[in-house]
């Protein structure tokens, strides 16, 4: 399963909670603080790294304040070739 993370622009978020409903992994929660406009912004709460970077939250976000990154899997270790000069 792919993994990823989202970055939420907390000052632009209006706390509409549409991303909470859209998130299939349920890793978005509303923050316990207020932003400059007086809204409680959404936050990624993902201690077990369950976010898949599916971007469904960003697709439904009316304020375009979610940026999504997906992890690139680490390249597999190259097999060690014997007898080949380095």
């Amino acid at each position: 399963m792919a993994t990823g993370r989202i970055v939420i622009d907390v000052e632009r978020c209006k706390g509409c909670e549409l991303c909470l409903e859209a998130c299939p992994q349920h890793v978005i929660e509303m923050g316990n603080f207020f932003n400059g406009k007086g809204y409680r912004p959404a936050m990624l709460v993902d201690p077990r790294h369950e976010c898949t970077g599916c971007a469904l939250c960003a697709v439904v976000c009316p304020d375009g304040c979610i940026t999504v990154y997906r992890d690139v899997p680490a390249p597999k270790a190259q097999p060690v070739l014997k007898g080949v000069p380095a």
Binding site: L18, K37, G64, V72
Partner: protein, 265 residues
């Protein structure tokens, strides 16, 4: 010194489109105007049209859309966006001209301008936001208000014997020969938002190919005036608006039919 190539550990999947200005919008929390803005901006980015596009903004909640899109724009008088877009497109036929209008603007005061722009077959694109209510003025009954829907000017529900039935703009304009592309989409969940984006992309492609008038009707929500939470409002769109306003392709140019045909649901 040994330079070591660092493999990127993550890739960017989704970010705010460039055609959307870095501004804080005045829309209420959960209003799908913002979603529609973002979809149009994404399409302009993907088609690389940002520097060749002229927006004609309307009156209504979307009145400040000329600020929110990072494209050249003009603000039309109430309902006259299609008339203004006609003039701009005829002076600048090589530019992409689109209007962004709500239902109070397009379907009420501006219906004549919209109809005649379609009848003349003007090569412009119309993004039409249908939220079944007048949003900016405080939730009065609009031509698109559903039968029985309570608004501030129909507190006992819309009485169709007194005020008529809701207007179906996508079907109406599809009947006009000058219209090349007329579809209805919704924005009530992620799947439908992505379908709406494809329709907007096709509408701009229709204009690029010079096929004629193109309109995308987007079913939208108004949590504030419907007096619901944003998520309840989207459920209301799904449960109440979709039966009255069926989604679908009402007119698609033959050259685009095979690839762009959407499913009705």
């Amino acid at each position: 010194m040994v330079t070591q190539l660092v493999e990127p550990t993550e890739k960017l999947v989704y970010q705010r489109p460039d055609s959307l200005a870095e501004l804080y919008t005045h829309y209420c929390p959960g209003c799908t105007h913002g979603t529609a803005h973002r979809l149009v901006a994404e399409v302009l980015d993907e088609l690389r049209l940002q520097n060749d596009t002229i927006l004609v903004a309307s009156v209504g909640c979307s009145v400040f859309s000329y600020k929110y899109f990072d494209v050249d724009a003009a603000e039309a008088a109430h309902g006259r966006a299609c008339a203004m877009a006609t003039g701009i497109k005829r002076v600048h036929p090589d530019k992409i001209v689109f209007t962004y209008q709500g239902d109070g603007d397009l379907a009420s005061i501006g219906l004549a301008e919209t109809m005649h722009a379609a009848i003349r077959g003007e090569n412009i694109t119309v993004i039409f936001i249908n939220n079944a209510i007048y949003g900016m003025t405080g939730g009065q009954m609009a031509p698109t208000t559903l039968p029985g829907q309570e608004t501030t000017s129909s507190p006992f529900g819309r009485d169709v014997r007194l005020t008529g039935n809701p207007i179906h703009v996508a079907e109406l304009l599809a009947a006009i020969p000058g219209t090349a592309y007329s579809v209805r989409r919704s924005m009530h969940d992620a799947r439908h938002v992505l379908q709406a984006k494809k329709a907007i992309q096709t509408a701009f492609t229709v204009q690029q190919q010079g096929l004629g008038f193109s309109i995308v009707e987007l079913l939208s929500s108004c949590p504030t005036n419907w007096k619901m939470t944003p998520n309840e409002a989207l459920s209301w769109v799904r449960d109440n608006m979709l039966p009255v306003y069926p989604l679908g392709d009402y007119k698609v140019p033959e050259s685009l039919q095979s690839t762009k045909r959407g499913k009705r649901d």
